[in-house]
């Protein structure tokens, strides 16, 4: 088994909750190269011929298996774009955990742009979790620009959890999805920015099949001088239902921009969007302080609950 140094171990813990490489299929990418891999009878991981990324192939009928593909970067000044394609066969039930942790103590900018494409087969269920984390006190920036494309076939269900709580200086997240008949996509995004960080998150979900549905939920906290932009577009091209929700807590001198967009091209498309931006409510602070918490402790509890 691969020996990880302390920084690598910490990054791995932050992005994948892993102390060591897990059971089952995985691929660990560290400082620009694939360094460790494991496959199972049902899940194969193959490097792309041009070296630009990996293909993950999950056999039809694979149930209760997981794939972990963490990326960790501890060298300063590294920039990379990686293409990962997931082919999930019909009737699967799998969990995919991705994530990127950057530790940048140097002066050069570190950037990882992961392009993930998911081809989800008929009646399959996929749970996808992606966590971003940055650390390091160098002047070099930590940049992550993930692109996620999802193509869901009939009756499939995908749940995506995107988390970025700490230390990423700049993010542009782009997510696109196309859903066939009876497919469902649920997205939970949790984001916290501080300092002078910027984060842009753009979703475009096309509900192309009858009875397809989506729920895109973003909860975010913007502190200090950070700027967040959330754009969610739902296209209703068939009798379908879609809901987008952006809920943000704004603090200090931060800025939050929410741009919801609904595009209904079918009379039976039911689309809803909600957006709310506001500071922490005074009565919430007062209530928690009346339980004996200091104002700062109260604020921490409110934020951590909000981003749960």
């Amino acid at each position: 088994m691969l020996k990880l140094d302390e920084i690598q171990k910490r990054l791995l813990l932050e992005v994948a909750d892993l102390h060591t490489m897990p059971e089952g299929a995985y691929n660990l990418r560290s400082n620009g190269a694939s360094v460790d891999r494991s496959t199972t009878a049902n899940i194969d991981i193959i490097s792309k011929e041009d070296g630009s990324g990996i293909d993950i192939r999950i056999k039809p009928g694979t149930k209760n298996e997981s794939v972990h593909i963490p990326v960790i970067m501890s060298e300063s000044g590294l920039k990379e774009t990686v293409y990962n394609d997931f082919y999930v066969g019909d009737d699967c039930d799998v969990t995919i955990v991705a994530g990127c942790g950057i530790s940048n103590c140097g002066t050069g900018d570190s950037e990882h742009d992961g392009i993930h494409r998911f081809f989800v087969g008929k009646n399959s269920r996929v749970r996808y979790a992606e966590k971003h984390y940055g650390e390091g006190d160098g002047r070099g920036k930590r940049i992550l620009n993930p692109v996620t494309e999802v193509y869901q076939q009939e009756g499939s269900y995908m749940e995506m959890e995107m988390v970025q709580i700490k230390g990423v200086d700049s993010t542009v997240r782009t997510t696109k999805a196309e859903l066939a008949e009876g497919a469902t996509l649920i997205v939970h995004e949790r984001l916290m920015t501080h300092g002078s960080q910027t984060a842009v998150s753009t979703y475009e979900v096309a509900l192309n099949g009858e009875r397809s549905s989506t729920d895109v939920i973003s909860r975010s906290v913007a502190k200090d001088d950070s700027v967040q932009t959330f754009e969610a577009a739902i296209l209703g091209n068939a009798p379908c239902s879609g809901h987008a929700e952006c809920d943000a807590i704004i603090m200090d001198r931060a800025r939050v921009i929410a741009v919801p967009k609904l595009d209904a091209a079918n009379v039976d498309a039911a689309l809803i969007h909600e957006a709310a931006i506001g500071k922490i409510a005074g009565d919430q602070l007062v209530k928690l302080m009346s339980l004996g918490l200091t104002e700062q402790e109260a604020e921490e509890q409110i934020i951590s609950g909000f981003l749960r």
Binding site: V286, L291, S304, G305
Partner: protein, 245 residues
Amino acid sequence: MLELKDVSYAVEEDGEQISIIDGLNLKVEDGKFVVITGPNGGGKSTLAKLIMGVNPVTSGKIYFNGEDITDFGITERAKAGISFAFQQPTRFKGIRVLDLLKLAAGKRISVAEACEYLSKVGLCAKDYINREVNASLSGGELKRIEIATVLARGTEFSIFDEPEAGIDLWSFGNLIQAFENIRSSYSGTVVIISHQERILEIADEIVVIENGRVAKQGPKEELLPELIGTASAQNTACSVLTKEA
């Protein structure tokens, strides 16, 4: 013991000073079950907030167990042993009932302990323990969870600001039951702001606040008969409910 000495509270509106509490003096003895009543706009809820430190007094002093707490903030008063159930409980996205009870208890508590507090306010614990304290809860549910947080704190002094306000009739009967339970099992001092006759009935002592001052204070047996039928002791539609049941 809680003592308020010559306490005043005024707000400024359009450049004019409006007096809400006006030179109020009040003593609440340890272990007593006191109901504060009086006409609307008399300053009852403001008084409760002055005791908790939600609003600062304009002048006067507040002593708790002999200590001057006039300049204490909310957190310090909470730590000194005062709890407060708000008239309009706040909602929290993402914070569960169990989390709130844990924060109230100030320590890790078992699910069984948390359930006990919920049972005391008439909520079926397993249905609520993992629910978020958000808009999905009704006013009555929220109110009872609010009371449970005060029970979980277990402090020596608790104030409940109009616990019956904003809850439906059906919840009202349960609420009275909850306070009767508190009455029999809680050894600390309880102050309830209310003008419901059925809450006044379980008091040791009644305080009537009018025009920002204590108009009357005395044992229930003495004061309740003269209050019945006035705005200070309302017997609302709950009696209709009792008759039909």
